[in-house]
Symmetry: C2
Subunit: 308 residues, 2 copies
Amino acid sequence: MTELRIAIVGFGKIARDQHVGAIAAVPGAMLAAIASRNASLPGVPHFATVEELLEKGPQIDAVSLCTPPQVRRAQAAAALAAGKHVMLEKPPGIGVAELDPLIAMATEAKRTLFATWHSRHAPSVEPAREWLVARRLKSVHINWKEDVRVWHPGQAWIWEPGGLGVFDPGINALSILTRILPKPVFVTAAELAFPANCQSPIAANLTLTDIDGLPITAEFDFRQTGPQSWDILVETDEGRMTLSRGGRIMAVDGKVVADAPDEEYRELYRHFVKLAATGASDVDLAPLRLVADAFLLGKRNIVEPFVD
Amino acid sequence: MTELRIAIVGFGKIARDQHVGAIAAVPGAMLAAIASRNASLPGVPHFATVEELLEKGPQIDAVSLCTPPQVRRAQAAAALAAGKHVMLEKPPGIGVAELDPLIAMATEAKRTLFATWHSRHAPSVEPAREWLVARRLKSVHINWKEDVRVWHPGQAWIWEPGGLGVFDPGINALSILTRILPKPVFVTAAELAFPANCQSPIAANLTLTDIDGLPITAEFDFRQTGPQSWDILVETDEGRMTLSRGGRIMAVDGKVVADAPDEEYRELYRHFVKLAATGASDVDLAPLRLVADAFLLGKRNIVEPFVD
């Protein structure tokens, strides 16, 4: 198998923390170039923009877009038009509808468009899904609270329109939820807390359900200091399942039944390499659709300004 | 052909202004009952709720939901579960995802789910679509400005979460836009003006485009006194097409080429009767998806309180 030559576009925190190491660790994947206005990596060809990369760069097969969501659609369109496979960080777009033309382009060009949801590849997500499918569910609660100053230092884009605010981590929980539950869910009510100086919410409470009326609640908060929470609790007829640490640890009635090291991004690149081998796409917009619905039908509250 | 026995659920302004007359005028449709907490019509069996209608009412084949969008999903689910065909006023839901389980129920029960977009049946919409498909488009502008006090007197639900505010009429423009343009469109930017005391916007400016970069702008405003505007202007390589009066009149370079009486709601019921004959569904969520995206990625501005 020839290696998939990948260029990372957008070389910020997530690219450095996760993508570089994952590409290095996955057989069949190699980092061939970086496109970033500000940052580079010694020994890797560097270009300022995706256009410059596509024009003047080395031969590449694929781009992995790690830029903020506000600029990704145009970059994905340019890469697909140049015949490259495209991997999108989450969220896949600033809107749901902008993905349609990209899907059409990828299909027509027989190139891969992969909208990633890294949290779905947390090690206990599949065990949880398999455990739940055999039980009768009574209720679900999501508790997803982190300190934005710790996890998103200086990321101004997150507060701009299209930046999602607390839904940037919250959509990770929704990506797990929509994977582990047996039936599609939808938002019935939401309360969104917007800092007076921000365009994106700093906290949100959601009420969701499915066709059977399963009660689902979610609390997202970016103002959590002290202990951080990335937990999903499911009450069933055979006990309470807890998925904690963002999908890493699964417990039933307090007893840990699954816990493995995090390989989320390696799993993403393994999957990307497989998809690119045939040019197949993998785009599930369900998590982003839930967030769009929360904005659409949510009650807005204005809260105190946020200063990074 | 036996007649489709239809119950109107929710007997407010739109039901009285449009639905009753349209059902009476369409062969194959008949008004068999009304479910409404407050209102009734002499000579038509009346029930307080959709549940009471389904339990104790006369034999019906279908329900037409004219209630505010916030309560329609549960009513649609109840009607489908009872084996009835369902017609939904626009917008089809308070969120996009809540339609999925209804579509699944309708498909499984072989019953019709018809998400209506009455403006698409305005008389000049099809002529406009056919004219545009043969031209090269340069730009599109939507000007949709009406006086909310005239058209939505006392409709408090429109300002509540899920009520859409100015997008309640604006989605009519988007339903026409998504019908007459040859390629799918998506929102790239939006500004939403929220009155300080309301949960829904009173005005909105949208920027949209398609895969070819067609520039599309839309101005929605609920504060328009004096002349009202429901116009779509399309600049093409063969002149400017204007669709005015909400899709009633089509002109090219100022010359009227199509103008016919409004039969929007009669067209809806003709289509519903046809769909119900085979239990086929017709649900296009594109207009609602654009509104959800506008809320998701839009910049929010707070403007002066609105008092009805």
